[in-house]
Subunit: 147 residues, 4 copies
């Protein structure tokens, strides 16, 4: 069996509406620093205590897109996993995530189009009981028979 | 003048439909390695030549969310810049971005709601002449008079 | 169900001799640079073309420990996955890995001690058909009934 | 004298049983984030406070292999230093290393085989007075006369 076959995630036929997967990751100061470099988002909201303390949340908050990056963690490694292609993502930022808070991200299959090889997933991020992000992902997922 | 005031980006009254800003960043192998750790997305599509060569694009591609992170770079530093809050973002992934390709990201103001302090921006990413991502951002932007 | 339970990997009762899991990752120049910083191993064998060309392999090679780090990738995320504790690892470096080569790492369960909650795995790394590392891992894996 | 000669570490004739070298490095949150990407080990034991608090150590711990990577730091830069080849390494993980703790790693020559150009070293990692790792390294070290 090839590396490709062994590492491949779920095929479209393996998916069912209601399936879920999660990942959990603490938002560290280090990740915020590094993500600033990778994204070019050096907004002092994320990097300067002095600036952030005069803003609405009174302290530095994580980049919304860094929080959202956990979604690709779930989709790309668990549900559906390797072999899928990302077609679109929507996200609403519902609450800020502060340094040291832990984000738990859940993806739930909400729709499957077998003919077009497309799957829709609800993507939710939580800090404790507070939902900080909701969104929807659309992915292309290969068929077993076409491989 | 305080650090806060000097660093602050545009206020809602400063914005006009049609204003644009861009950022440009090469997608490096290093960024992909590091983003895998930050996002938890260790999908071999991004990290393994042996896996990727059997997929549709025949070589490793960047995480779509890493490409998209350039959007927050433009919004958070240039238009509207520090002081805004990210409310939502949509994105369609139109084409893959390969290692070493340079992503140029443009944000264009498309709508302003002065009463609710909200601005809508079209967000487009290009590699050369190929559009690799399109999307829309919604942000809360403070008023001068309310500060 | 708690985050802990949902993210937990296999329990000792789930394991059987012969089970395998793999991961595949290209050894990039970026990873070598970064690993040099994380490990303190700034040996010019890994970082200087001028030094390396006078050595046995005539070009820079990856740190053996960077290649070996793929083992913890397989063990910590797949087999047995989250919840295990690393007790020991042996490794023999059989051949060098060069920049741009893709390492495929396989873990195979070779022994299970239900009383002591210990599992032994053979850990093998390959570049194409060439085995570059072999070794053995010992892990503590929790029981379902004790949780 | 060439770069190669000036940078070269100890030759087999320079080594004596009992020689030691150390290195010391703090295990930072940043290193754990980045090592997760390099190794593919995104186990929430290392990355999620919410997951880790229900495990035995009650908080996130460093990847054992990240701690062990300090060994290659000592061997590759100090004893014997550039020019050696890594043949094998064993390691026992004796205690967890937490974020912010400083690992001091000592290598001690325990055996020399002049005919085969091989040297054995005891490799020990400590956090304060607590030994967190012990192991043994075997390296090939060149002779002066053969160069």
């Amino acid at each position: 069996m090839s590396v490709f076959q062994e590492l491949h995630g779920k095929y479209i036929e393996d998916l069912e509406v209601g399936m879920t997967a999660i990942y959990s990751k603490t938002i560290t100061e280090a990740a915020i620093e590094i993500f600033a470099g990778l994204s070019g988002d050096t907004n002092p909201t994320h990097l300067s205590n002095d600036f952030a303390k005069e803003e609405r949340f009174k302290e530095r908050i994580a980049h919304g897109m860094l929080v959202a990056s956990n979604i690709t963690g779930v989709l790309g490694t668990k549900l559906p996993g390797p072999g899928c292609l990302y077609m679109s993502q929507t996200m609403k930022f519902l609450a800020p995530t502060r340094i040291g808070e832990t984000v738990t991200t859940r993806a739930t299959v909400t729709g499957i189009n077998l003919e077009k090889n497309r799957v829709t997933l609800k993507t939710d991020c939580f800090v404790g009981d507070t939902q900080v992000l909701d969104g929807e992902a659309l992915l292309w997922v290969p068929s077993r028979e076409k491989m």
